[in-house]
């Protein structure tokens, strides 16, 4: 069973969300990926306005329409627009089909401005996915979180289900930065398939806290899946990482929506 935590529509061929989703699923099928999580719209928008957040989420809702049995949406929100984000969470998660929220690079997640967003997502049982990177080449954006920002957030929200996107990119640092916070899970997506990444994550965090994701279509499903399939870990640990952990995390919110997990 393979569930992919981290997919997008931007970068795929196709004019409409439906066309792009069909292409994404065709590739996922080749790799044996049964279900996937999808966030953000046809274009990447780094600092979305409230209108752009709504449009991006509408595009995901449109893409999901024919794929509710295999795809789950995360609602794109921004620490720069807290009220609009809370409205989007009501529309897309509380009253809509989405099961998580996606925070990207508009505002660092250690900022207290994000507290009401994370608190509402946690009330709903939604997974909070935060992009993180530790960039060594001076290209860190002003609003781009590191795993240390997420660790700060985790202290204020011990009940939240927090995902450390990309394991911070520089995973040797990312894993250390979140190690002490049991409600932070790491996303393996969106970095080179560097040998040792999965083994270190399992050793330091336990396999229960490690989630397979690809960051397709920016990354190859294959290169990212190869990290988990080739890692020197047990078959049981591999199962947890490839899908069982994500299924467990999404179980409560899916059941609350009357959907099978």
């Amino acid at each position: 069973m393979i569930w992919d935590l981290h997919c997008h529509l931007a970068g795929l061929p196709g004019r409409t969300p439906e066309e792009r989703m069909a292409r994404l699923m065709e590739l996922a099928d080749r790799m044996g990926i049964e279900r996937l999580c999808l966030y953000m719209g046809l274009e990447f928008v780094v600092r979305p306005t409230p209108e752009q957040l709504r449009r991006q989420n509408d595009e995901v809702l449109q893409a999901l329409a024919h794929w509710h049995d295999r795809a789950y949406g995360f609602c794109y929100v921004s620490g720069e627009h807290v009220d609009a984000s809370l409205e989007e969470i009501e529309r897309c998660v509380a009253e809509g089909p989405m099961v998580g929220i996606k925070l990207w690079v508009a505002r660092r997640c250690s900022d207290a401005a994000l507290d009401s967003i994370v608190a509402r997502a946690t009330e709903l049982g939604a997974v909070v996915f935060q992009h993180t990177w530790f960039k060594q080449d001076g290209t860190q954006l002003a609003g781009e979180s590191t795993p240390l920002d997420l660790a700060t957030l985790a202290v204020r929200h011990p009940q939240a289900i927090l995902v450390c996107g990309h394991t911070g990119g520089l995973w040797e640092l990312g894993i250390r930065a979140v190690r002490a916070h049991p409600n932070i899970y790491v996303d393996l997506a969106g970095s080179d398939p560097t040998r040792g990444m999965v083994e270190m994550a399992v050793r330091e965090l336990g396999a229960q806290r490690v989630l397979y994701g690809s960051d397709a279509p920016g990354r190859s499903f294959a290169s990212q899946l190869g990290k988990v399939l080739a890692a020197e870990i047990t078959a049981q640990q591999r199962q947890l990482i490839l899908g069982a952990n994500l299924r467990r995390l999404l179980g409560p919110i899916l059941r609350a929506k009357g959907r099978e997990a």
């Binding site: 060594q136 290209t139 520089l170 399939l229």
Partner: protein, 259 residues
């Protein structure tokens, strides 16, 4: 695991100074490659990235490869910033019978428009040696601060290929170093690539659409990347049997074939 024979054009022996991995001992690496159905591995030396005694580096590389002659084809290290690199080239060819050399211009502090590069193109073409240019060894965003290097700018290769059209050239780990449209230009000029760093969903397929199936070679970037990440890209892109055969075996054979 092994479903088709592979020639892996992007393999290194020895250790990467910033990370220990389980297969950085030659015996373990050879076992892994054999399990994966690799029938020939073009093996460079990670020592050659950092050690200025390139003659010693190549001696050790040749010695290990000689212990696994059915599998390991050594690709000698050359540092074109060192005096008398020409004699290292001569030794790679005459003393060790190597079929190619591997360059790391960013780690050695020169660019591809340096005069020595043209001189190497001419000398290697004379000897029918393959030249592998490694565009990067690590994403610039994750490099250790004490050892951060830019990706290799590949544009000067076009002039070298025009001047020495019989040159046999492959760029390894190219993806992050390529400007839009550059892969097409270089491929048209005769440059080949490997797929270890090719990314994007169906990324190998879209690269093949742009450069054709005869300019891309299988490469896994052992021991630093997970092997399956390279192999699974072939399944993801579903290229058809003929194109896969070119990428997995035939293009490499052709590049290495005696002139």
């Amino acid at each position: 695991m092994a479903d088709r024979p592979l020639i892996d054009t992007n393999v290194y022996l020895f250790r990467w100074p910033f990370r220990r991995v389980t297969v950085d001992e030659p015996a373990a690496l050879v076992r892994l490659l054999e399990e994966q159905g690799v029938v020939q591995a073009w093996a460079g030396s990670l020592e050659g990235v950092f050690d200025r005694d390139v003659s010693g580096v190549n001696q050790r590389l040749a010695a290990v490869c000689a212990a696994y002659p059915h599998l390991l084809a050594p690709m000698g290290s050359l540092n074109l910033a060192l005096p008398d690199w020409q004699d290292d080239l001569r030794r790679c060819h005459e003393l060790y019978g190597m079929r190619g050399v591997r360059l790391h211009p960013n780690y050695h502090g020169y660019t591809l428009d340096a005069p020595a590069v043209r001189a190497l193109w001419e000398a290697a073409a004379q000897l029918s040696l393959v030249v592998q240019v490694v565009a990067l060894l690590e994403d610039e965003r994750t490099q250790a601060p004490a050892c951060a290097v830019p990706h290799v700018a590949l544009a000067p290769l076009l002039d070298h290929m025009r001047a020495v059209p019989q040159a046999r050239v492959q760029v390894l780990n190219a993806q992050r170093a390529l400007r839009p449209g550059e892969a097409e230009e270089l491929a048209a000029a005769g440059v080949a690539f490997d797929l270890a760093t090719v990314e994007g969903a169906g990324g190998v397929g879209s690269l093949v659409e742009r450069i054709g199936p005869q300019r891309l070679l299988f490469g896994s970037f052992q021991p630093l990347f997970y092997f399956e990440s390279a192999r699974l890209k072939l399944r993801e892109s579903s290229l058809g049997a003929w194109a896969e055969e070119q990428i997995c075996v035939e293009n490499a054979r052709r590049l290495l074939a005696a002139a």
